[in-house]
Subunit: 400 residues, 2 copies
């Protein structure tokens, strides 16, 4: 039996991160809803709300709300030929491993890839081989090594990898990779290039085909101010037919068929209420915010922030310098030392920040932590830096 | 380039079905948000909002909000041992075909199964063989035939099907199947039974293990008043380990591993903002509404409604009689005849209903249509029946 007391608590759940907090959570900062998304969130809150006027039984053909037009424009925005939404970029990556590779194939991926890239391989019984990085402190990928890794797969298996994956911006250090270096190698070997743009599409300028991507994946809740979970899978027209395959299965007794349904996407991809509605509503603002001059300003802010953080003794930003993305990891041995003496132990930093209405550092982290300053105003950037410095001082750490 | 006029329209999208409409949409009626879900929808609108206090890197272990407790209680509610959320029941079904079957296997399914069951087979290169139904007008499944279909698979392939699927309540006629008949057959053959409860879990009483289900799938946005997309996959403890397998993949160069991640679910299943928060918030009310006496009342209402609808000449409810579920299909040749003479053609019914603030009949349908009266008050039921009768009369159709 269900404990009635437990049952009671479910109807009143609330968030830890309050609305008036500055949120520097590495996976939340660029996903925070726009005012427009907040409005449609309540309008389209019911699960099948975008299906009121579904005439063809397929999500991407709906005109009210303008899903069909939106996907056309999203393709333009991503610099690809065709786009479908997915339940997060992780579902998009899983589809790619399912459709373009066969079990037993070996795919070349970068060693900074998101964990869901590894899981997509595992789930589809595909092997992976990693392109190395240069280790601490920059963790810079050796992009030229894609060529030798492709050769390695060829030597090992007698055939080229079915595709390679490059993570445009990695989730640990926020390193930005030059896609063109890898796409040139891929063109030479005639291997399709899959780019994971979960931390780039929607925050910084990127046009997939222009840099040689055959597939470009983005994340709505990570980088496009969408409630989620929602991702986007963009392809060239060459790959569209295979990836967006329509169903041919037929009931042996009933002869039922579902010819219009794209079966790798479960028919209609599961994004058909708030996720898609908020992605659409935020889109005009997202298009604007990804312009080069806005991104340049974001970079100025993170570089300022890094400088201020590194004034705290023994604090160091990891990843390629100078920073090219707002997602950053810091190593903070001095804060870790302080935590050992603190009554709150590893949680002291999280709690001290919370007191000043700053959220987003993983609870318990003090040795190193990630954060993302995307979308913070200059005032907020300065406040966050000052609060970190204040916490350091309170714990007898020198500020240089 | 993106047309700026198009861009403008995205930020202001609105629904066709307004808030003061009576909504009898077949896939929306039981998914409409509760007041509690509406509240948390805005609180947890951001995509990763439930991850504020993630300490173990896995969704189902989070305690603030109480996701871990909730999943325990959801398992009790479903009468299963363990539950994970998924991006809709279609994702859950896809996982089952991926994990329990191998490519080339043949699975027995009912011929009224949801189209996503067929697509799950196709996507995983699994073949299906259908258990027949008795055709028009009741479309009653021949549940005893599961035995002979299992034998057929055995004869064809030299081995038993890896599992069989039974759709508890089908999406075309709302027929309710007696799971025990099939589970007895499955026990005899020692084959796991997968029950699709997308139209039952959350609206009517069902306890999976009590009726012999090894796997029970439910839908949050279809039948549990959740924003979505979200489904639930419940298993017996016997099946939990295989279906909720944790990752063992290891980076060949980096040695990276993700040992705690359940890889068939993309690590954390993509439900980590509004979908899961609303499912949790609605849960206490959902538990209450599925009690037998409430369901009995829902059945009284649909039966009354069918009686009133069938007073309209040539209108007939399809499916097993008397109705055992609030989801119903009507065949309405008289309304179709009327549409041929009407200036709005096939859309006349949709538009006429809209005038009286009734939504949910597929636009363009008049020959036959589905609807779901779940959750309507007696007054609303009566109003909807009266409006249908009024529309019929306006189009010179006799009311008996």
């Amino acid at each position: 039996m269900i404990d009635p007391k437990r049952l009671q608590k479910y109807s009143n759940i609330t968030r830890i991160t309050k609305k008036d907090f500055i949120n520097i959570h590495p996976i939340q900062a660029a996903g925070k809803l726009t005012p427009e998304a907040k409005k449609v969130l309540s309008e389209f809150g019911d699960g099948y709300s975008v299906c009121d006027m579904c005439l063809e039984g397929r999500l991407d053909t709906i005109n009210k709300p303008p899903i069909h037009d939106f996907l056309t424009d999203m393709a333009i925005f991503m610099g690809m030929d065709e786009v479908r939404p997915t339940a997060g970029s992780r579902m998009a990556m899983n589809i790619i491993f399912k459709v373009i590779a066969n079990p037993g194939d070996v795919v070349v991926i970068d060693s900074l890839a998101h964990y869901t890239t590894y899981l997509a391989a595992e789930d589809n019984k595909v092997k992976i081989i990693e392109v190395p990085h240069k280790g601490h402190p920059e963790f810079k990928l050796n992009l030229e090594a894609y060529a030798e890794k492709i050769e390695e797969v060829n030597a090992q298996t007698g055939k080229k990898p079915p595709f390679v994956v490059l993570t445009h911006v990695d989730y640990n250090y926020g390193n930005v990779n030059d896609i063109k270096i890898v796409s040139k190698i891929c063109k030479d070997y005639k291997i399709p290039l899959v780019v994971n743009g979960a931390y780039s599409v929607g925050v910084m300028p990127i046009k997939g085909k222009e840099v040689g991507a055959d597939i470009l994946i983005g994340s709505g809740h990570k980088s496009m101010a969408a409630s989620g979970p929602i991702g986007v899978l963009g392809t060239t027209s060459e790959w569209a037919k295979k990836i967006f395959s329509t169903s041919t299965i037929k009931g042996d007794w009933s002869s039922r068929q579902f010819l219009q349904k794209e079966y790798h996407f479960f028919g209609c991809p599961p994004v058909y209420g708030a996720p898609l509605a908020t992605l659409i509503a935020s889109f005009p603002r997202v298009v604007k915010r990804t312009k080069q001059e806005n991104w340049d300003e974001e970079i100025k802010k993170i570089r300022y922030f890094v400088t201020e953080m590194e004034r705290i003794e023994d604090v160091k930003a990891l990843g390629v310098r100078p920073k090219q993305h707002t997602l950053t990891q810091f190593e903070t041995p001095s804060l870790y030392e302080a935590s050992l003496k603190h009554k709150e132990k590893g949680y002291f930093l999280y709690k001290a920040l919370k007191k000043d209405k700053i959220a987003g550092i993983f609870p318990g982290s003090s040795k190193h932590f990630k954060l993302n300053t995307y979308g913070l105003t200059w005032d907020e950037i300065k406040k966050v830096a000052e609060v970190f410095q204040k916490i350091a001082e309170e714990n007898n750490i020198k500020i240089n």
